[in-house]
Structure formats: structure tokens, C-alpha cells
């Protein structure tokens, strides 16, 4: 049995985002309300981190518990931690550190109604340079291998790579294969990929049949991505997506709504606490 390990303080989980910060991310995001891809992706990741920290709070007077180690690796003009402020330069931080050290508090549209709400922000948008995706996967692999050595029986790490284009430093398939060979006693690392688009409404979401994919770029992402564990299939189905037991964890031509939906499913873990 795999992907069943409860996440708790003795067995924290690990989630790492690889974020394309190349120049092309300065283009408009499909369905992003005029925002650039870099801006929209940073916003979605900040929102996911916010939910992740809240997931770690059991007793509000105690604050977040160490249920997760989280990383955001940017790749563009440089490859490294995308965190700012107190967490700058750190590739992996605990959910306690994350909760206590946002880069800033920003006003966002209130998701529950009118007006705005203040939300924490940990990363900011960047768009410059090339797309060194392989180097980012290399850094993620080295970091996660060390993490697994310390947490051999935890829920397997989750890596989510978000990009609008193709790697400029080589074929990413061998690097993603290496990542997927990393494993804890509860299963292999889950490698997911999101290809984001300037257009709205033509997303391919977690397909199970590579023969129906539109081009070789989509086929490459299919081959680079892990099969969704059973509980994620259930979550995706309950969110209205047409997925099945063979669905791979990737989205192609994803607009803003598809990216947000994918990250909600892809960062879910089994029971926490």
C-alpha cells in the first residue's frame, strides 16, 4: 500500500514547487485578468502556501505545526530559492517558519465576498532570462534526497513544475526520471507538471491516454509526470474533473483557473495531524 502515510510532526510531508521565472513569463496569462504569467503563478503559489500553513494549525494559540517542509525553486536568470525576506536563500523551510515569516501582507480580492482581504505573500513575480529547467530539477533532487534520508517513512515528496515553455538547458525527461526514482517507504516521489498558456479555455487536465494529446510537447509532459494516486483521483473527480485511475499529474495549456485547480489537487496529501 502506498500514498497512505498520515502526515504528522514525526512524519512531515515535503512539497517543492519549481517555478519558471524566464523572460517569456512576462507575457499575459490566459484567464488571468490582464496579469502576466509570472504574476498569476506567484499569486496562485502564495495562495497554496497560505492554505498549506492553515492546514498546519490545530490550536490557534499554538500556531502552525511542523507538518510540512516546503520549497519554491525559481529558474530563470538564476536557479535557487524563490523565497524573499527572512526565508531568502532557503530551499526548504518548515511550515512553522513559513507561517511566521511571510515576505509581506498584501491586499487581495476577498474570496468570500466584497472588498479585499489581507493575505501573506512569500514569493514575488519575476520574468527574465532563459529556462534552465534541468538545473532546477537537479537542485530539487539533491535537496529532496537529503530530506528523504531524514524522513524515510514519511508520505512521499511532491514536486510540481510550472512552466510556459521548453527547457533551454537540455532534455528534462532524464532529470524528472531521476526525481521519480526517489522514494520513501510509502511510495515514489510524485512529479507533476503544469504547462501554462496565454490562451483561455483549452486546457488538457490530467489525461490518461497519451494518444489523444495534441503534440510532442504534451507527450513529453505526460511521460515526465507521475500517475495520480487514488485519493487525488477522488479529489479531482469531486472538483468536477474527468480523471481516472490512469491519469497522469499534468496540465497542458493550462489557463489561470486550471493552474489553480491543479495545484489544489496536486498539493493535497492524505490525513494531516
Amino acid at each position: 500500500m502506498t500514498y497512505e502515510k498520515r502526515i504528522d510532526r514525526t512524519h512531515p510531508g515535503c512539497i517543492v514547487f519549481l517555478v519558471d521565472q524566464s523572460g517569456s513569463m512576462g507575457g499575459p496569462m490566459g484567464g488571468g485578468g490582464g496579469r502576466t504569467k509570472a504574476d498569476a503563478v506567484a499569486g496562485v503559489i502564495n495562495s497554496v502556501l497560505y492554505e498549506l500553513v492553515l492546514r498546519c494549525i490545530k490550536d490557534p494559540s499554538e500556531g502552525p505545526r511542523h507538518y510540512y517542509d516546503v520549497g519554491v525553486i525559481g529558474y530563470g536568470p538564476a536557479v535557487g530559492s524563490a523565497f524573499g525576506g527572512e526565508l531568502g536563500g532557503r530551499v526548504l523551510v518548515s511550515s512553522i517558519e513559513l507561517g511566521n515569516n511571510p515576505l509581506a501582507m498584501v491586499e487581495v480580492p476577498n474570496p468570500g465576498g466584497d472588498g479585499t482581504a489581507k493575505r501573506p505573500q512569500w514569493i514575488s513575480a519575476q520574468a527574465a532570462g532563459a529556462t534552465p529547467m534541468c538545473k532546477a530539477m537537479d537542485l530539487a533532487g539533491a535537496t529532496i534526497a537529503d530530506w528523504i534520508a531524514d524522513h524515510p517513512d514519511s508520505f512521499p515528496p511532491i514536486v510540481i513544475n510550472i512552466s510556459d515553455g521548453e527547457s533551454t538547458d537540455g532534455d528534462p525527461q532524464p532529470w524528472s526520471d531521476r526525481l521519480r526514482q526517489l522514494a520513501t517507504s510509502d511510495g515514489e516521489l510524485l512529479m507533476f507538471n503544469v504547462n501554462i498558456s496565454q490562451a483561455e479555455g483549452e486546457s488538457v487536465f490530467c489525461p490518461s491516454n497519451p494518444e489523444l494529446l495534441p503534440n510532442t510537447a504534451a507527450t513529453l509532459l505526460f511521460n515526465m509526470s507521475s500517475t495520480l494516486p487514488e485519493y487525488m483521483v477522488g479529489l479531482a473527480q469531486s472538483a468536477g474533473h474527468s480523471v481516472d485511475a490512469g491519469s497522469r499529474g499534468f496540465a497542458f495549456n493550462a489557463d489561470f483557473a486550471a493552474v489553480a485547480s491543479f495545484l489544489r489537487v496536486g498539493t493535497s496529501t492524505v490525513q494531516v495531524g
Binding site: M1, R6, D8, T10, H11, V53, L54, R55, I57, K58, D59, P60, S61, G63, P64, G99, P102, M105, K118, R119, P120, Y231, G234, Q271, V272, G273
Partner: protein, 235 residues
């Protein structure tokens, strides 16, 4: 007739007792039993479950009084003190706490003996007579447990309507009330081994924990908090 009740609980593997998010309460003279299971994804799940279980034993709810009864529990539930400078303080206050509840009122005098139960969510009651299951409530089949059972929330708003059930009691009957993990395990095992009900009736305080740990490690029992509240009707 009189009621003899015993309660057993154990937290998740590797967790400490303070992490327990199940709660149970009983009052033998008044024939009241309750088990509540706090939702791990909510805040103060354990204390809210304790409030619901204790609240039922203090004043049992019925289908018609349930909404007002929940309001009483909400008012009696102490809110956590949160540092207002923390960014999560407001969000925590908005989201609230959630738990299942199963409450049973046994009537052993003044007419035919009976039990009446209310349930929100998947904590379960099993009525056992001479080692055979007479009634399973509110979940009857192991496949009917879900990841998102109905829950009673601590925030203002309409409470979910409870399911209700009742049954006639005889001397020697056992009423087993348990949180979802053990209920799921029991219904699964009972499909091929009806003697599971006699086995559960024989567990003691020194055998319950080792049984739960062993069943978890073998994979049959979900790694969750486990609570069993067992009562026997005596002459």
C-alpha cells in the same frame, strides 16, 4: 435493568494523548452515551468533540431539539486565545471547529426498555445480542464511509439535521459506540467473521491499545484516533 459502561480510546500511531481528537462521555444512571470525532482539518477539533460529547450527556438532543441544542454547545465552547498580530488569527476565527456526534439515550424503566440515538456523521452504534448484530447505525456497510461525512460546526449557522434510530433492549444486550476507523474495521471484519462482535465485547483496558496497534500495523484498521464506548444491559 441497569447499564454498565466502559470506554476505551487510543490516539493515532506515534501521536500523544493530547493530540486525541475523539471524545466520549457516558452517564450510567441516566443511560446516556456519546462519542464525537473531531475533524482533523479543523481547529480545536478535540475540544469541540469533547464539548459535543459532554453536552449530549448533560442534556440529550433529539431530532426536534437538535438545532437549539447545537446553539447551546456553541455558546458553551470556549474560543481559543489567538495573538491578534498573527495573520492567521482572523481566518481561524472564521473557519471554526467541526466534529461528528453519535448520542444514545437508553430508557430502562417506565415501560419497554429501548434506545434512541441521534447521529451526525459516521461515528456508529452497533446493537449486539448474543454475539449477533441486530442494528448498525447510521452506517450499515463498510463501503459507505466517505472522506467527507456530515459534521457539526462550532460557527454560527444552521446545524445539519441528525439521523435518528431506535431499538428495543433486553437484558444481556450490548450497545457499542465507536468512531469511524473502528466502525469501518468492525463492519469489514463482520462480513466474514461475525464473532468480531463478541471479540469487541471482550476487550479490556489492557488489551484495547495493543489490539488497535496490531490492527493498524496489519493494515486493516485505519491509522486514526480510535474510540470504543461499550455498554452492557444488566438485570
Amino acid at each position: 435493568m441497569r447499564l454498565v459502561a466502559r470506554a476505551y480510546a487510543t490516539p493515532k500511531l506515534g501521536a500523544c494523548w493530547s493530540d486525541l481528537e475523539d471524545a466520549c462521555a457516558y452517564d450510567e444512571p441516566r443511560g446516556r452515551l456519546a462519542v464525537a470525532d473531531g475533524a482533523s482539518s479543523s481547529y480545536q477539533a478535540g475540544p469541540w468533540a469533547q464539548r459535543l460529547a459532554a453536552g449530549y450527556v448533560e442534556e440529550p438532543a433529539t431530532a426536534t431539539t437538535f438545532g437549539a441544542w447545537v446553539e447551546v454547545q456553541r455558546r458553551a465552547f470556549p474560543r481559543a486565545t489567538v495573538d491578534p498580530t498573527k495573520w492567521w488569527a482572523e481566518e481561524v476565527a472564521l473557519r471554526g471547529s467541526y466534529a461528528t456526534l453519535l448520542g444514545v439515550q437508553l430508557t430502562l424503566e417506565d415501560g419497554p426498555a429501548r434506545w434512541d440515538a441521534v447521529a451526525v456523521g459516521d461515528s456508529c452504534l452497533f446493537h449486539v445480542r448474543a454475539g449477533r448484530l441486530l442494528c448498525s447505525f447510521p452506517v450499515e456497510h463498510p463501503g459507505d464511509f466517505t472522506m467527507t461525512p456530515p459534521l457539526v460546526g462550532s460557527r454560527d449557522g444552521e446545524a445539519p439535521g441528525p439521523m435518528v434510530a431506535s431499538g428495543a433492549i433486553e437484558v444481556g444486550d450490548q450497545i457499542l459506540v465507536m468512531s469511524d476507523a473502528l466502525a469501518h474495521w468492525s463492519l469489514s471484519v463482520a462480513r466474514t467473521r461475525e464473532e468480531v462482535w463478541a471479540f469487541l465485547g471482550g476487550l479490556r483496558s489492557d488489551t484495547f491499545g495493543p489490539f488497535a496497534d496490531d490492527a493498524r500495523l496489519r493494515g486493516g484498521l485505519d491509522d486514526d484516533d480510535v474510540t470504543l464506548l461499550r455498554c452492557v444491559v444488566r438485570p
